[in-house]
């Protein structure tokens, strides 16, 4: 085996770089081709009964057929098709025809005619329908052939008069999928209009089936029309009326499709004018359609309601007059007009009256209604959203909220009007709806200013027990404009209450207050004395600096003070001290302030903030310069190289801390350079000069270095985001070097030849795979370790392991340092565990053997697909560790590159006598083609590195990427 492998590698290498390795398996498959179709033929001939034949066909369908033999198989199937009398077998054959036509690389144009011919004398409707289905597939495979299409369309038109609904359905599908409208949109040279001359326009054919007796056919006709539209055909406006009629069909599927149809038409011809029946007025089509679809919001079937409500959201061209009607619901009580609760609230707010609804008959109806103006039955757009938002099914309500959002974003005046309704939705009984409406309000918040009474309702939600809701609300408050200082006070009060009730919301609340302050400096100003409880004459006691509530107030005040220079005059002494403290400890929440008498602070801050974008540029430059400097190191053995690397690594690390924008890049470079440094050190150890039997002790450091480099390379590859293939190649290269080092070390410590041969082979394979993977990158790797190895590859393959090791050793020492080129954007995946904080002294007590749930709350930055990758590791004091996969639903995505993991991990253990700490950390799991051999390598060498303690908490294929958090737990023995 080994010899064979070597030979192959050798052959391939000695050839040109072209790699024709795909051919071998293809040849194998081709061999089985004739036997396969023949076997099918024999099987089918053998089949005594229909059941047997069906069985054969079913089995046949499970195996793939290669493209070359498809045609043969189809012919055989067709042959049997004509002979077969049983419907079910013919049906299966028909379905197989479609399945086979889908085979990659097979062009079904040669069988189209044969399949069409089978239609001619088919009696069974089901088989007919199935054949048409197969034709649909064939047609889909031949998008470039107008002749086939025309042919198929003709077939479909002919069979449209079939009595069976299934056949008609399929015909309509075919027409929708393949038909063209007679006058083509683009004037290309096909000229289908002339050739289609005899055939009627596809669209008019389809539209005649709008009034078919079978609802399924009606649906299919509508769907076919929609498909035509999707394919870019111009749908004529004539069918609008028909589509509108179908809105009141008896069957929900028809109504649902009709809603779509009407919507499509309203988007195509928004401005054309349609008459209003029973009057001689005319309105725009989009308005008419809007009214009709609004009417469907009170349909009997909730599916239709959802559909209609969703559709409403995308009709942005509708006139504002109609749009505003959707929020109108005339209230009526004993024929008197009643003001809605919203109106009442607004009036109360306007009049300054505080109490509401104290009296009986407070909402008593006032003016008398003219009975003629109350329109009950044909409501049109009237109150569509009012209905939608009050629907029984929450799906409809969510759809309504979303639609409101879309419409409000495009129309500020509508946004203002729908505010009341959205705020109402904050009290929905279903959490999803509440959450959605909060999000929506945030999205339209640029258009609106909340009134006090509305804010009151909004803030009431802060006490919600669901964390998602509260956080969404904090997010909303960050973006909200409020009108008065009372509002600010109210918001602060409620937020403090929230903080008191749910201390875990601390960060979120502070952040919210930061934005609230910086948005409304002038409204905060008059509140400052009260907020800081200062007094003009008396000194007030200094508040407790550790009180989260006090910090919250300060965050609000300081952020407001940033754009309000008069505010610091109101601060008392301790406030300034607290400012200095908070500016240091919570710098992301507290902005730099120009404070009188604090010049140093001021100047230092100005340096920090003043440089702005310039500093990023200079930092980039610095980064590049350091890299260039490093690249001057030609050889790993150059004197002074180690020092240079050491300094550069230190510089880069510091740079990463200072410039958050470049943290990823700097870290990446530093890690890379550290790998190089380790390699260098390992190679310069004295042990290389020593005789083999003397050195097992010294070996340890070098082995550890090799191991560490390997780990670092995995971190480099998987922890950073935005790498290009060039960098990946570089990383792999370093890994290869580390492996070579390991190999050399193994060879020195263990003279056992068998083991060595295996390792050598593996190493050679890896070189080969490296070459395959980074073929395009090889030119950039000139003069590197791999480059050199590849040059002498033929020799390597033929030489003995001992020789190989020697060659490796020298190549390693001679090869130069690879130059690292930085990609544009590079980010390091990070995770911060917010909860548990690890500060608690109270152990979590639970009965041993049972489980206890630990809440984990973490933010993940720059992690792609965290659902698959991120895991939670729990490390018990006795060394047991335990990896938990969080549910996909536990990940939330608050920002584009940010994820939030809120989950519960279940801990369990046998009894302890003392409370003790478990460590919780997040792991980033990775898997790549090269990671599996590495793990096998490790196991292969494990006996050779006995002296090395297993890396702490090393988990196969995972990188710890958050700081571990310690949690005190105390499993108690069960009481009996």
């Amino acid at each position: 085996m080994a010899a064979h492998l070597k030979k192959r590698v050798y052959e391939e290498f000695s050839k040109v770089v072209q790699i024709p390795h795909e051919e071998a398996p293809a040849k194998k498959l081709r061999l089985s081709k004739p036997s396969k179709s023949a076997a099918l033929h024999i099987d089918l001939c053998k089949a005594a009964s229909a059941t047997d034949a069906l069985q054969y066909l079913l089995e046949f369908a499970r195996k793939p057929v290669e493209a070359e033999s498809v045609e043969g198989v189809i012919r055989i199937l067709l042959e049997h098709y004509y002979k077969e009398t049983d419907n079910s077998v013919r049906l299966k054959i028909a379905s197989l025809l479609g399945l086979l036509s889908k085979t990659n690389g097979f062009s079904p144009d040669c069988v189209v005619d044969d399949v069409i011919n089978t239609l001619g004398n088919e009696k069974s409707h089901q088989v007919l329908a199935q054949l048409l289905e197969s034709l649909l597939v064939i047609g889909g495979q031949l998008p470039e052939s107008p002749a086939v299409r025309r042919r198929l369309v003709q077939v479909a038109c002919k069979l449209l008069s079939d009595t069976n609904f299934g056949v008609r359905n399929k015909c309509l599908q075919l027409l929708g999928f393949l038909g063209t409208v007679e006058t083509p949109l683009t004037k290309d040279g096909e000229g289908p209009s002339s050739s289609l001359g005899g055939v009627r326009d596809v669209q008019s054919i389809i539209s005649t089936y709008f009034s078919d007796q079978d609802p399924r056919v009606r649906t299919a006709a509508l769907k076919a029309m929609l498909q035509l539209h999707e394919r870019g055909m111009k749908i004529h406006q004539i069918i609008y009326e028909q589509a509108c009629r179908l809105l009141s069909d008896d069957y929900e599927q028809v109504r649902s499709a009709a809603v779509q149809m009407v919507w499509v038409l309203s988007q195509l011809y928004p401005e054309s004018i349609v008459p209003i029946p029973s009057s001689n007025e005319e309105i725009r089509l989009v308005d008419d359609a809007f009214g009709k679809i609004s009417h469907m919001v009170s349909d009997g079937s909730w599916m239709v309601r959802v559909q209609a409500t969703k559709t409403l959201g995308s009709m942005l061209q509708v006139s504002p007059h109609f749009l505003e009607q959707t929020l109108d619901k005339k209230l009526m009580s004993d024929l008197r007009r009643k003001r809605t609760a919203h109106e009442r609230a607004k009036e109360l707010f306007a009049s300054g009256e505080f109490s509401s609804g104290r009296k009986w008959a407070d909402d008593a109806p006032k003016e008398r209604l003219d009975t003629n103006t109350v329109n009950l039955i044909a409501s049109g757009a009237c109150g569509a959203f009012v209905h939608g938002l009050e629907d029984e099914m929450f799906e409809v309500r969510i759809a309504a909220v979303e639609a409101l959002c879309q419409l409000a974003r495009s129309s500020p005046s509508f946004a203002e009007k729908c505010l009341d309704f959205l705020v109402d939705m904050f009290n929905d009984e279903i959490e999803e709806v509440r959450l959605q409406s909060i999000h929506v309000l945030r999205e339209i918040s640029t258009h609106i200013t909340l009134r006090e009474d509305q804010l009151d309702t909004v803030l009431a939600v802060l006490e919600d027990s669901s964390r998602d809701i509260r956080e969404a609300l904090h997010e909303l408050l960050c973006y909200t404009n409020v009108s008065t200082k009372e509002c600010i006070q109210l918001a602060l009060l409620e937020l403090l209450k929230n903080l008191n009730k749910y201390p875990t919301d601390r960060n979120s609340v502070w952040k919210c207050l930061k934005f609230l302050g910086s948005r409304h400096p002038t409204l905060v100003l008059p509140l400052v004395p009260e907020l800081l409880s200062t007094h003009p004459y008396f000194d007030t006691p200094e508040p407790d600096m550790d009180d989260p509530a006090y910090i919250a107030v300060l965050v609000l005040v300081f952020n407001a003070a940033k754009s309000c220079p008069t505010m610091p005059a109101l601060f008392s002494d301790h406030t300034f001290r607290h400012y200095a403290y908070l500016r240091d400890s919570l710098s992301h929440l507290v902005p730099p302030l120009r404070l009188p008498g604090r010049k140093q602070v001021y100047s230092l801050d100005s340096v920090d903030s003043g440089c702005g974008s310039g500093s990023v540029e200079s930092a980039k430059l610095f980064l590049q310069q350091s890299l260039n400097r490093v690249s001057t190191i030609q050889n790993l053995e150059t004197p002074g190289a180690q020092d240079l690397l050491n300094f550069t690594i230190r510089d880069l690390q510091r740079l990463g801390e200072l410039q958050t924008e470049l943290a990823g890049a700097a870290d990446f470079c530093a890690t890379f350079l550290r790998c190089q440094l380790l390699l260098m050190k390992a190679l310069q150890e004295k042990l290389w000069n020593m005789a083999v039997p003397l050195c097992p002790k010294q070996n340890v450091t070098a082995t550890a270095a090799a191991q560490q480099i390997l780990e670092e390379t995995y971190k480099l590859e998987f922890l950073y985001n935005g790498l290009e293939s060039r960098q990946v190649a570089t990383i792999h290269h370093v890994r290869l070097q580390a492996k070579a080092l390991q190999l050399v070390l193994t060879a020195r410590t263990r003279p056992g030849l068998d083991l060595l041969i295996g390792s050598c082979e593996k190493f050679l394979q890896e070189i080969e795979s490296f070459q395959r993977m980074f073929l395009t990158e090889l030119p950039h790797l000139q003069d590197s370790f791999v480059d050199k190895l590849l040059e002498i590859m033929p020799r390597l393959l033929s030489c003995k392991p001992v020789e190989l090791v020697k060659i490796l050793q020298t190549t390693l020492r001679q090869s130069g340092l690879l130059q690292l080129r930085l990609p544009e954007q590079i980010h390091r995946a990070t995770a911060t565990i917010i909860e548990p904080t690890g500060e608690s002294d109270n152990p979590l007590r639970f009965t041993s053997g049972l489980v206890v749930a630990l809440d984990i709350d973490a933010t993940l930055e720059h992690v792609q697909d965290p659902q698959d990758k991120v895991k939670v590791q729990v490390l018990y004091p006795d060394g047991q560790s335990h990896v938990i996969h969080p549910k996909p639903a536990d990940f939330r995505k608050p920002g584009p590159t940010r994820h939030r993991l809120i989950t519960q991990v279940y801990l369990s253990h046998t009894a302890w006598t003392e409370p003790s700490q478990v460590e919780v950390r997040l792991l980033l799991a990775y898997s790549s083609s090269s990671s599996s051999p590495s793990s096998s390598n490790k196991s292969g060498w494990s006996d050779s590195i006995d002296g090395l303690p297993p890396a702490e908490a090393a988990v196969e294929g995972t990188i710890p990427f958050s700081k571990p958090v310690k949690v005190f737990i105390m499993p108690k023995p069960a009481r009996r």
Binding site: D250, K329, M332, S333, E392, E429
Partner: protein
């Protein structure tokens, strides 16, 4: 023409005592059998003597259907079935069957034990009555007998309320009371097929009201309770035992859960507990939210709501108490009210309407000093709130129901006459609408299509005669005899079955004709003439001096007086009436010269 007759015995232009008689396709059905809360004499129950003066009702009614468990819809049931006498089937849904006897028993206790009335139904009668009940499932079609079928639809309103679709042949009636379109707390929205009934009988209690969003009302309610609790006050909510109480409980329960509140909520004991139990069982009848969360927790297994004990009223700290009765006129709710009235931190929330004269009514109208028995006065310092939660459909809800069912006629019951007028006017813009008073009969003519079976022989014969296959799109006439009792057969078979001989019906007629030729010549000329006119018919000149056109015989005889005046004798059978009359008119015109 067939008619559907509807006669309200109660609830015609009135609220309460719902009882409607429907005659449809020869079947008599009683819809609901309620009592009137406002009366204590005979007017309390519907006037069953309208159906029959003496004797039992069994012979006159095919079935009784109860829509839901409110007493104004089922209160007279034991009276009717046991005291007046009815042994036929009574239909109601499972939850109604479960809760109805509790309410009836309670009602009986109050009337007999508290008010001391005699001549009232007994507990045993309630039990006997319930034995006659056949439970209905939703959307299950029940065949009452061969022709009459009923089907129940979900109606919301209260637990187990149903709309009923009653069908005989192709005639149908939908009966719905108190449909609740917008879901309130615990019941879902009503839904019905597009069944296009001949008549939709609907309530119209809130016919002139279009209500505000339920969410606004809920929020108001919750906000008030929450504020009071936060102030440390106590909240008293007087309720009636069923329906509303459960609704508010669910509302508060969810709110407590949502807001993580800790203050206790108490529910005064009584029949409500039993009812709560049934609510737990019939969870599928409730709305989406409750049905959805049921897997985790049955909403009616209240976590925060506990049974109330008299002594709890003096406990310090905030609490919410639900207590019966709803109008603060007696019982526990009044006792608690007296205890708490003095503190302005406390609050009482009246969730429903209060009858004049009750304390509830007084305080709602702003009275701050109440005279209690024993000439003591009570200062009302606590806050008084009114909250409107009603599960009746508003005008829009009714309209939506109409849209869903698409009835041909509408009949309004269970509402005040003046308000009904308004709705009637609205509906009449689109189709007929009636609002009969009690005892007044409305007859709606229907036009049912009558399907007729055709005998296979006849069909086959027709097929052999008719040549090509019948085109389903074109009507075709055929001959046959309709036997009303069975199906359409050929006339021969019909004759045979009836034991009759076949009779030939022939028409003969004489036509005077001036023709100078001899008889035989005339005949020949007629023959040639007809031959030229009637090309498609077989025309024979028979040797016995007649011309046969199909089966029509033409003879010529000259009159004795005038040799020129010929008399043509035409004779045709009934089947050839068309051709015969045509020929006679043709020949009357004379022959061409």
């Amino acid at each position: 023409m067939p008619e559907i007759k509807v006669t309200p015995l109660g609830a015609g232009q009135d609220v309460g005592r719902s009882c409607i008689l429907v005659s449809i396709g020869g079947k008599n059905i009683m819809l609901d059998c309620g009592m009137h809360m406002g009366y204590n004499d005979d007017r309390r129950f519907p006037d069953f003597s309208y159906i029959t003066q003496n004797g039992r009702l069994t012979d006159f009614l095919d079935c009784v259907i109860i829509s839901h468990f409110h007493l104004d819809h089922c209160g007279a049931l034991p009276y009717m079935s046991e005291m007046v006498g009815y042994d036929g089937p009574i239909y109601m849904t499972h939850p109604t069957k479960a809760i109805c006897p509790i309410l009836l028993e309670d009602f009986r206790k109050i009337t007999v034990d508290k008010k001391g009335e005699t001549n009232f139904f007994t507990s045993q009668m309630i039990k006997d009555c319930m034995k006659k009940v056949i439970p209905l499932n939703l959307h299950q079609t029940v065949q009452v007998d061969d022709e009459l079928e009923i089907k129940a639809y979900y109606a919301g309103h209260v637990l187990g309320a149903a709309m009923v679709h009653i069908k005989v042949g192709s005639e149908s009636v939908v009966y719905t009371v108190s449909v609740n379109k917008f879901a309130l707390c615990h019941s879902g929205a009503a839904w019905i097929d597009k069944c296009r009934p001949d008549i939709l009988i609907s309530e119209s209690t809130y016919a002139t009201t279009i209500r505000d969003s339920k969410r606004c009302r809920e929020r108001d309610f919750l906000k008030k309770v929450h504020e009071t609790i936060e102030r440390g006050g106590k909240v008293l909510i007087p309720v009636f035992a069923l329906g509303r109480a459960q609704e508010l409980c669910i509302l508060l329960e969810t709110f407590w859960e949502r807001m993580n509140l800790k203050a206790p909520i108490y529910f005064s004991t009584g029949l409500t507990e039993k009812a709560n139990h049934y609510y737990k069982l019939f969870i599928t009848w409730t709305n989406q939210k409750i049905r959805k969360t049921f897997v985790q927790r049955n909403m009616f297994e209240f976590k925060h709501i506990k049974a109330f004990d008299r002594s709890y009223a003096d406990n310090p700290g905030p609490m919410v108490v639900f207590a019966t009765p709803g109008m603060l006129h007696a019982g526990q709710s009044l006792q608690i009210f007296k205890k708490w009235a003095g503190n302005d931190k406390n609050m009482v929330i009246m969730p429903g309407y209060c009858v004049q004269g009750t304390i509830g009514h007084k305080i709602l109208n702003g009275q701050r000093k109440l005279e209690m028995e024993g000439r003591s006065t009570l200062d009302v310092k606590l806050q008084v709130e009114y909250m409107s939660f009603s599960a009746h459909a508003d005008a829009k809800g009714i309209m939506q129901l109409i849209r869903m069912a698409e009835p041909r006629n509408m009949l309004l019951v269970h509402g005040e006459a003046a308000k009904m007028e308004f709705l009637k006017g609205k509906i009449e813009q689109e189709f007929n609408c009636y609002m009969p008073a009690n005892g007044e009969t409305v007859a709606v003519t229907t036009n049912p299509s009558v399907p007729v079976d055709i005998s296979l022989n006849l069909l086959k014969r027709e097929m052999t005669l008719g040549g090509p296959l019948p085109d389903p799109k074109k009507p075709r006439t055929m001959h046959g005899t309709l036997i009303m009792k069975e199906n359409l057969v050929s006339s021969e078979q019909a004759l045979k079955e009836l034991g009759l001989n076949e009779h030939q019906l022939r028409f003969t007629c004489r036509v005077q004709l001036q023709d100078p030729h001899s008889d035989s010549d005339t005949l020949h000329r007629i023959y040639t003439h007809l031959k030229s006119v009637l090309k498609d018919y077989t025309i024979q000149h028979l040797p016995d001096g007649t011309v046969m056109v199909e089966s029509i015989v033409i003879k010529v005889s000259s009159s004795a007086e005038d040799a020129n005046a010929k008399v043509l004798l035409l004779s045709w059978s009934y089947q050839d009436e068309d051709l015969g009359s045509y020929l006679s008119s043709l020949l009357k015109k004379g022959l061409p010269t």
